[in-house]
């Protein structure tokens, strides 16, 4: 009996140990204990370079300084302007063809004053009128990042500007009219968040380059800041950020503004055209804090409507035009945007109450109907829903009637558009 008991005891002990061991293993399984790894010390240079990369994205350097599919920052991309083609320079650290011989001081002078290392005045396609607001520390970080990239040997191409714009002395006049040098100064009485947003919007974000009208001299006046304008050579209209008739954000929730910038879609609207490129290359990489800060600042912009909404007279539509528009809408558009234009946000934007549709300039909604479009695939919306082109299905009258319909239906306060306006845009290649 005794050996049997001993055996049983031994077995029991064994089982207990196994259970205890199993339990311990279960409790200690990976991920259950707080992760206690000593913080990896990132050396200060790497930290600066990483911050520089983030800031370079906020400044969207890559969009202009890289040929699509070409080596990053090697320049060479043609930039069409009303004055001729500019060729964007190589900003890789190559000694001969890039900025390899520059130092941080020279880089800051270029960002801050628009004067290059060799003393030449830059053409204002380089948004130095915005970048002048960038702090020295941020400029240094961007410089450190650019210098950390692989050098690419690629000679800069000469600009092809028409006379007299090929004479850089003209820039003296331009600068005295449109350029105000100076780093961003935080506004006392505004929150830290507001000031951060203002710094990003007015500085690296260079939003004014499109959202402020450009005059015949290629300048934009400060008093008209963010009041919207046609983007030269792209035939898209950059809406006013200060008008509730356009993209004025006074009535938007911060979350929707922030989403539009960082995600590309929101419950109020979706980005398209050139803004899709900005979100894809730049804004999607912003931290949640920074995109919220930009939203707070943009929402606070004073709303000053230079043009009143069109009056009843201007909004009159012939009933037969309205009927054509309604029929097309029901057949082609309603499945996504809803019979009442409410959309299925954020996948399909609402059209009712969407100022992007009703702005005085109907260029954008006409182009969307003709060419369709996909919002950018972003970190937070990698599989965007898209809109098909209708240019091959609808004739000019039908497109005009459809755009007219969505501009006046559901209490939208836009004005009708003419077939001629559609035809002018139909002949353009989509871009």
């Amino acid at each position: 009996m005794k050996p049997m008991r001993k055996f049983l005891l031994a077995m029991a002990a064994l089982v207990c140990t196994a259970v205890a061991a199993g339990g311990a293993l279960y409790l200690l399984r990976p991920g259950i204990l707080p992760h206690q790894v000593a913080p990896v010390a990132v050396n200060p240079s790497t930290r600066t370079i990483n911050r520089g990369e983030y800031l370079a994205r906020a400044g969207d350097c890559v969009a202009c300084h890289t040929v699509p599919n070409g080596p990053m920052f090697a320049g060479g991309r043609a930039m069409a302007t009303p004055f001729g083609n500019l060729y964007v320079p190589n900003i890789t650290p190559d000694d001969e063809t890039g900025i390899g011989q520059w130092n941080a001081e020279e880089f800051y002078r270029m960002m801050h004053t628009g004067v290059s290392r060799d003393g030449k005045r830059l053409y204002p396609a380089m948004p130095f009128a915005s970048y002048t607001q960038v702090t020295r520390a941020d400029s240094d970080a961007i410089f450190a990042y650019l210098m950390s990239n692989p050098p690419i040997r690629q000679k800069n191409r000469e600009h092809e500007l028409r006379f007299p714009f090929n004479n850089r002395d003209l820039l003296i006049g331009w600068r005295s009219l449109y350029f105000r040098e100076g780093e961003f100064k935080p506004v006392a009485g505004q929150s830290v968040q507001w000031n951060r947003g203002a710094y990003l919007v007015k500085g690296l974000g260079h939003c004014a380059m499109c959202h402020t009208a450009v005059n015949a001299l290629g300048g934009s006046s400060e008093s008209k800041a963010f009041e919207g304008g046609m983007i030269p050579n792209q035939n898209w209209y950059a809406p006013s950020l200060t008008s509730n008739h356009e993209a004025g954000l006074g009535e938007w929730a911060i979350k929707d503004i922030s989403d539009l910038l960082q995600v590309g879609v929101s419950h109020r609207g979706t980005v398209y055209g050139p803004m899709a490129e900005v979100v894809y290359n730049s804004l999607q990489y912003l931290s949640d804090e920074d995109s919220a800060a930009m939203a707070v600042y943009l929402k606070s912009l004073p709303q000053k409507d230079s043009d009143a909404a069109p009056n009843q007279q201007a909004r009159l539509v012939r009933p037969e035009v309205m009927e054509v528009g309604r029929k097309v809408y029901v057949a082609q558009c309603a499945v996504c945007h809803g019979a009442e234009g409410k959309g299925q946000a954020p996948a399909y934007p609402p059209l009712a109450g969407n100022r992007s549709i009703t702005m005085a300039t109907p260029v954008n909604p006409i182009r969307m109907v003709l060419n369709g479009g996909y919002p950018p695939g972003t970190g937070k919306n990698p599989r965007p829903h898209g809109m098909p082109p209708f240019s091959h299905i609808l004739n000019d009258e039908e497109v005009a009637a459809t755009v007219t319909y969505i501009r006046v239906a559901w209490s939208n306060n836009g004005a009708p558009v003419a077939a001629k306006q559609v035809n002018d845009l139909r002949t353009l290649l989509p871009e």
Binding site: N69, K327, M387, P388
Partner: protein, 250 residues
């Protein structure tokens, strides 16, 4: 006539978008020049790949079957890797067709791959062939080029790579069945002049540059008149059978 279950299901699938559309449009009305119904935006579930590809349907059809409009190609059943590659080429500008370049400009690789896989897996019925317009002589030349090639000019037969069923070959050779002559001729011409290219060694460039204008018209006309295959799936990759080395098959 035998009605198979598959046929019923196909018909049902085709009708579904119509029913959905009808239910949404309170008085059922149609646009004056409405697109063919299988090319009208429609979907059942918002969070689905079917809804996400609505940006493609007015040209390529709900199931990638292509539309009556001569130029827009059928996508259904083409190898997924081929479609992914073309979408990326449109996005990056290495294949030029402005409406496509614009549409996919800011879409990331994994999404393009998902879109490609969706259309590769579709098996919609083939649209009726376009009315024949080429001369008998051209059709004869086209048939010769497509089925036996022209050894004197160093042109292999289309079917050597694109398959006897013209359904293509995994991973990089597209099916030709169901394409319109305007599209085929357009692509061959683009290849000849260097506007369209494939991964090196670019076998299609080699072949297209040996075709004359008449050859291009003839082979496009003949190919567009072929009866669609019963099995539209691309053939498995077969490097031994290939007359030339093709970068797209690597």
């Amino acid at each position: 006539m035998r009605i198979t279950f598959a046929a019923i299901r196909r018909a049902h699938l085709r009708l579904c978008p119509l029913l959905l559309l009808a239910s949404l449009s309170t008085p059922a009305v149609k646009a004056q020049t409405a697109a063919p119904d299988d090319a009208t935006p429609a979907f059942k579930q918002l969070d689905s790949i079917e809804a996400r590809v609505q940006g493609c349907v007015t040209c390529h059809g709900q199931n990638g079957q292509g539309t009556a409009n001569g130029y827009f190609p059928r996508l259904a059943g083409k190898p997924a890797a081929y479609l992914t590659h073309q979408l990326a080429a449109f996005r990056d500008g290495t294949r030029s067709y402005p409406p496509m370049n614009y549409l996919v400009a800011y879409l990331p690789d994994p999404y393009l791959k998902e879109i490609a896989a969706y259309f590769a897996a579709q098996r919609p019925p083939f649209a009726p062939r376009e009315p024949a317009s080429a001369s008998a002589e051209a059709m004869q030349r086209g048939q010769a080029l497509a089925t036996t090639g022209d050894s004197a000019k160093g042109i292999p037969a289309c079917i050597a790579c694109h398959g006897a069923r013209l359904s293509g070959m995994e991973p990089g050779i597209p099916g030709l069945a169901g394409l319109r002559s305007a599209y085929i001729a357009g692509q061959l011409t683009r290849w000849r002049v260097g506007e369209r290219r494939a991964t090196d060694p670019d076998c299609m460039k080699r072949i297209a540059s040996r075709l004359s204008d008449t050859d291009v018209g003839a082979v496009a006309a003949w190919l567009s008149q072929q009866a669609p295959p019963i099995d539209a799936a691309p053939e498995p990759s077969n490097l031994v059978r290939m007359p030339f080395a093709c970068g797209s098959q690597k």
